[in-house]
Subunit: 278 residues, 2 copies
């Protein structure tokens, strides 16, 4: 399978890739290098506030693919569960105000003291089903993202594309729910080509970074595409064969390396890597 | 599902759990606490040599469940690949000399420079198929162990029970090949009960430790059963429903914690945890 080079207008860079920047600095940096798509990191949005965020985005001609992350609805006690639902309704409204296509959803992990995955899974299913109406009303897609099994305990009880698809089947609202695929989370799955083909029109987002062979952290040691073992271009090919035509969204959580560098260097490196690795 | 308490005669402790000990110290420590089953860690065997190892085992009435780890046959260049096969033939013979039931097999990860999982998978399949005859001749089972997806790059391209079963189907030698299940590697899999039921009589070994919620390393920060989020007793129940009646083998890689403690304390803690957590 030959996959063509990614055009610049299909490149998006997530704000989380420039965690060293505040909201405005990251957006201005992307725009300065001709990148006009991003995803918004909730913490950065909180810091600047919605009104100013919208101004910065419009002033830099910046398209928002998604707000990240929503969901986190596995709490067993009703008070925490309902509070999480309230937060999600707020994030849905924020997503709409930002002009985003989607709110990216991670289910949340095992609640404290819980060791039964099925309990957490069923709670997440219940929580997400309650977000269908508000998302539909706001015109926002909810993009369920399976995370790597190494963060199952703390972040997501959905660890594979297969399990995410099963959850979407259970939710039964394909006009609202779809998938966000992160190559870092799923590259190890031998059945990935089949699962992506099965996903088809449910594929809403494609996040990429790289798995470093000597990775030192379960969350914040992601690599720059080309530095690790993930064949991102092959995975993009599988996505496109399944019908996906959206942007490649670079999302690099890198506490030790890329978050320590000057932001212009990070973006320039991504642009260089586009030719061979995206 | 109610799962009964694990009797002491079904408790095994791997030598790797006492990495702070040499071969003799670990075996004597297990025996001192009434534990008479273990698995042998290859490096420790190399240090003491086969003849003395056998003497130590016999002198302490120690049953060997398995030698760990074998396999590692994903090298693409023929020289390295053939060298790996030679080593495995040697480990099979050592397993027989130790009176072990099995050699535990991990496939190996992606060879340097390789990003195509299928290439590594197919190489592993080829390599393992060449071990069928020597293992059969030696009366040693080969127990394929899926490892956690976070070590896919470096250690194992087989990350799920489902993929391991598919590989066993491809190998087509059920008198030789079976499965080693490590709860640490597979607890996150929502389809695990189904996969274990599917595995049935292929279940040869059950390794346990615990997944710590704040795990700090991708290989050497495993927890003591009861300290994390893994419901080992439930997983044992699924194993037993599928027909498994073998020992529970404690395998804790813990560079920061349990490998730093006095070995007697480690074994005493395991014995205490048996009541509620194994």
């Amino acid at each position: 399978m030959t996959v063509s080079e990614l055009p610049l207008d299909r490149l998006s860079i997530h704000q989380a890739t420039l965690m060293q920047c505040d909201f405005r600095e990251s957006i201005e940096c992307f725009a300065r290098h001709g990148v006009h798509q991003t995803a918004i990191w909730r913490d950065k949005l909180e810091q600047i506030g919605l009104d100013e965020a919208v101004q910065v985005l419009q002033g830099n001609d910046m398209k928002v693919n998604a707000l990240c992350p929503g969901g986190l609805v596995t709490a067993v006690d009703d008070k925490s569960f309902n509070a999480a639902l309230d937060m999600n309704r707020r994030w849905i409204d924020q997503s709409a105000a930002l002009g985003a296509d989607s709110l990216v959803i991670i289910t949340g992990g095992l609640p404290d003291g819980e060791t039964n995955l099925t309990v957490a899974h069923d709670r997440a299913l219940e929580g997400l089903s309650r977000l269908i109406d508000p998302a539909r009303a706001a015109g926002i897609r909810l993009a369920l993202e399976p995370l790597h099994p190494m963060v199952c305990g703390g972040r997501s009880v959905i660890s594979t594309v297969a399990d995410a698809l099963d959850m979407l089947d259970d939710l039964g609202a394909d006009d609202v729910f779809g998938l966000a695929i992160d190559s870092y989370a799923v590259w190890w799955d031998l059945t990935l080509p089949y699962q992506l083909a099965r996903a088809g029109s449910r594929l809403l987002h494609f996040h990429t970074s790289d798995w470093l062979r000597d990775t030192k952290d379960v969350r914040f040691d992601r690599g720059m595409p080309g530095d690790g073992v993930t064949d991102n271009r092959q995975i993009r090919g599988w996505m496109e064969q399944a019908g996906f035509a959206g942007p490649v969204e670079i999302e690099i959580f890198s506490e030790r390396d890329w978050w320590q560098r000057p932001p212009d260097e990070v973006v320039e490196t991504i642009l260089e890597r586009r030719e061979a690795w995206l």
